[in-house]
């Protein structure tokens, strides 16, 4: 009994709207990705700006009232009292006001337009660290904002590589069939069987070591893409098998279409929504993979910044106990991954014709 109201696009859209968590997560993700564009503006300092005498500086406490009076946001100066254990003491005498749209370090807005205006900063140029600093005195908040670029995009680039390979290889494998299909599927299965992270490590070990950060990014992206490729290839191959004998595919054969045309024009469009789902649910895995590699100093390294790399500073438990704010990148990673999953599953439920 099929009672069908609305186009194939309307129904999922309406169903999705009803899932509050999914919509909210989508909002969070959009916010994060938009923030990417404004990285220079949002971050008070550059990713590698060092404040030599502010090593392991704790997060500033933003106050609003001084002796009972509201004077707007401000921070006190923190003075280094113990250079060995890096502890600081608040100097209540010095007051640095915080304002919005303050001039500061130069950067390029949208990677093009030079500007010096930042979202917030102190009026007198004194440093303000909302999330503290690392051992080299670099503002953690700024580094996290700049790190978003790599962490958030590596997922997508990687997935698209995987998908592209998956469609081409998996699709043709399913369509051609026979021995070719058998061999390719066994290869994919072997890759899937290998524990992902160890596989990353293995591939990483054969990666050349003296390469530029740009090349490094490319290599890491490719490494992260390979296990996803195998999964996509298998899934797509199965879909091709089931759609291969559909009447409209036969009609296309009769009309004179080549195998590749059939794959791209007739088969892939039927699984569009599955591919989108695939992407959405795979990205967090890649993000975590990158974070893991960089955490071990095997992925993104200096001078680039990524969230996983920032976590590396928190590796030593003693350091972490003493300077707990170093763990903040973890929170943003968790938030991002969770949002992807929440959005992805909401999307899956909305697209599922059975719910």
């Amino acid at each position: 009994m099929k009672l069908f109201v609305g186009t194939p696009l309307e129904i999922p859209y309406l169903k999705f709207k009803k899932q509050k968590l999914g919509v909210f997560s989508l909002g969070v993700l959009l916010l994060l990705y938009t923030a990417l564009l404004f990285e220079g503006f949002l971050a008070p300092y550059g990713p590698n700006t060092k404040f030599r005498d502010k090593s392991y500086h704790p997060p500033h406490r933003v106050r609003f009232f001084k002796e009972g009076k509201f004077i707007g946001p401000y921070v006190h100066e923190y003075v280094l009292v113990n250079p060995i254990f890096k502890s600081y003491q608040v100097d209540r005498s010095k007051v640095h006001r915080i304002r919005f749209f303050v001039p500061g370090e130069p950067y390029k807005l949208f990677f093009l337009i030079p500007s010096t205006i930042h979202l917030f900063g102190t009026t007198d140029g004194a440093p303000v660290f909302l999330l503290g600093t690392d051992n080299l005195g670099r503002d953690l908040l700024s580094r996290m904002i700049y790190g978003a670029k790599i962490s958030l995009t590596i997922g997508f680039v990687s997935i698209f590589l995987a998908l592209f390979g998956g469609i081409l290889i998996g699709g043709l494998s399913g369509y051609i069939g026979g021995i070719t299909d058998w061999l390719i599927m066994r290869l994919a299965e072997i890759i899937i069987l290998l524990p992902t992270f160890y596989f990353f490590l293995f591939l990483r070990s054969v990666m050349p070591s003296d390469i530029s950060p740009g090349q490094r990014f490319f290599y890491i992206t490719a490494i992260l893409a390979i296990p996803s490729w195998a999964g996509s290839a298998r899934g797509i191959r199965n879909w091709v098998l089931s759609l291969k004998n559909a009447d409209f595919v036969v009609a296309a054969v009769i009309a004179g279409a080549s195998k590749v045309t059939i794959l791209l024009r007739h088969i892939i469009p039927q699984i569009r929504h599955i591919l989108i789902l695939n992407i959405t649910l795979s990205v967090p895995g890649i993000i975590l993979g990158e974070a893991g590699l960089s955490f071990l100093n095997l992925g993104i390294t200096e001078p680039s910044v990524s969230w996983g790399m920032l976590m590396n500073a928190a590796m030593d438990i003693n350091i972490l106990l003493r300077y707990p704010w170093l763990l903040s990148p973890a929170i943003i990673i968790i938030l991002t991954v969770f949002s992807f999953f929440a959005f992805g599953y909401a999307l899956k439920d909305a697209l599922d014709p059975r719910t």
């Binding site: 069908f4 409209f248 036969v250 009609a251 009309a255």
Partner: protein
């Protein structure tokens, strides 16, 4: 003769695993031959599993035959054509599918669906294709505005019209209609059948019309072939087959047209059991159900012959039956 098919055979091997040798085969089509004059309709009727759809697919080489010859227009044997020449011949032959819901790509615009056969052959500009699409849609009783819609916006009957429009786009001289109305509502079936007849009159298209509904096949065909277990058991002009069916299977099928026939002993006692296509019996395959079977029938499958007439039958004892046909 526009179409001449001889000795069509197709056997599907049953494989177990990649490297196991195929021992058993499904004998789907076992030596089918027929011919169709230009502009006429040959109807093939038979029940499920008789091989009629396989036959249709073999002609277009959607499935490759194991043996046989197919003479079409000036081409000596379509089955021996290389891939590139086949592509050209295919534009002269087209196919209409049974399932209106599965034969149109749900994600493609109707305009692109109906002009697809044109798109892979030579270059037509976008405008030419649009114009052609509008033309085709009008020809089958739809409106040009429908070309910008998706298949799901249409009913079953309308989708079949779209299918027919697609089949017409490459100006074929031969169209295979595979159960074109079986999935449609009764009140729509006659619309589509009328359309097909009109198109044949107008364009002189030759049809191979396949269905399991006997009344529809009788109505649509000039000549008819009855298939059973991959072979033709009777063939001839439709009216003659209706008036004087000779093969016991044909007689049984005709009886079932009349619901009152359940009282008829022939129908009542019919087991309906079709022999396995895997362990294909020697001798006549209709033997278990045949009311006039004899020992001779077990020796070999009777050849299809007609004593010089157009009406051929594959039976050692044709015609003779309780009242329905002429006695020999």
């Amino acid at each position: 003769m526009h179409i001449e098919v001889t000795g069509l055979v197709k056997q599907y091997p049953l494989k177990a695993g990649l490297f196991a040798r195929a021992k058993d085969r499904v004998h789907a089509v076992n030596g089918v031959s027929f011919s169709i004059p230009r502009g006429q309709t040959l109807g093939i009727v038979g029940e499920s599993g008789c091989g009629k759809t396989t036959t249709a697919r073999l002609l277009l080489r959607v499935v490759e035959p194991d043996a046989g010859m197919f003479k079409f227009e000036e081409v000596g044997n379509v089955f021996s054509l290389p891939e590139d020449k086949l592509k050209h011949v295919r534009s002269r032959m087209q196919y209409i599918f049974q399932d209106p819901y599965n034969s149109l790509n749900p994600k493609m615009l109707v305009r692109d669906i109906v002009t697809e056969p044109l798109r892979y052959r030579g270059s037509s500009t976008r405008r030419e294709l649009e114009r052609k699409a509008a033309e085709l849609l009008e020809h089958v009783g739809l409106s040009p505005a429908d070309s910008k819609k998706y298949p799901h916006e249409f009913s079953g009957g309308q989708r079949q019209r779209i299918s027919i429009a697609r089949a017409l786009s490459s100006n074929p001289s031969f169209i295979i209609c595979d159960e074109p109305v079986s999935s449609l509502d009764v009140s729509i079936q006659s619309q589509i059948l009328n359309l097909l007849i009109d198109l044949q009159k107008e364009l002189g298209i030759t049809y191979l019309f396949i269905a399991h509904n006997l009344a529809v096949v009788f109505y649509m065909s000039d000549t008819m072939a009855v298939m059973y277990t991959g072979k033709i058991v009777e063939m001839g002009p439709s009216e003659e087959l209706y008036r004087t069916p000779l093969h016991p299977y044909t007689q049984l099928l005709i009886k079932t047209l009349d619901p009152e026939s359940r009282k008829d002993p022939l129908v009542k006692n019919d087991s309906g059991e079709v022999p396995s296509l895997i362990h294909y019996p020697i001798g006549c395959t209709f033997y278990p159900r045949c009311p006039r079977r004899q020992a001779k029938c077990l020796e070999a499958f009777p050849p299809l012959e007609g004593e010089g007439t157009q009406h051929q039958v594959a039976c050692y004892f044709p015609g003779w039956d309780n009242g329905i046909a002429d006695k020999r």
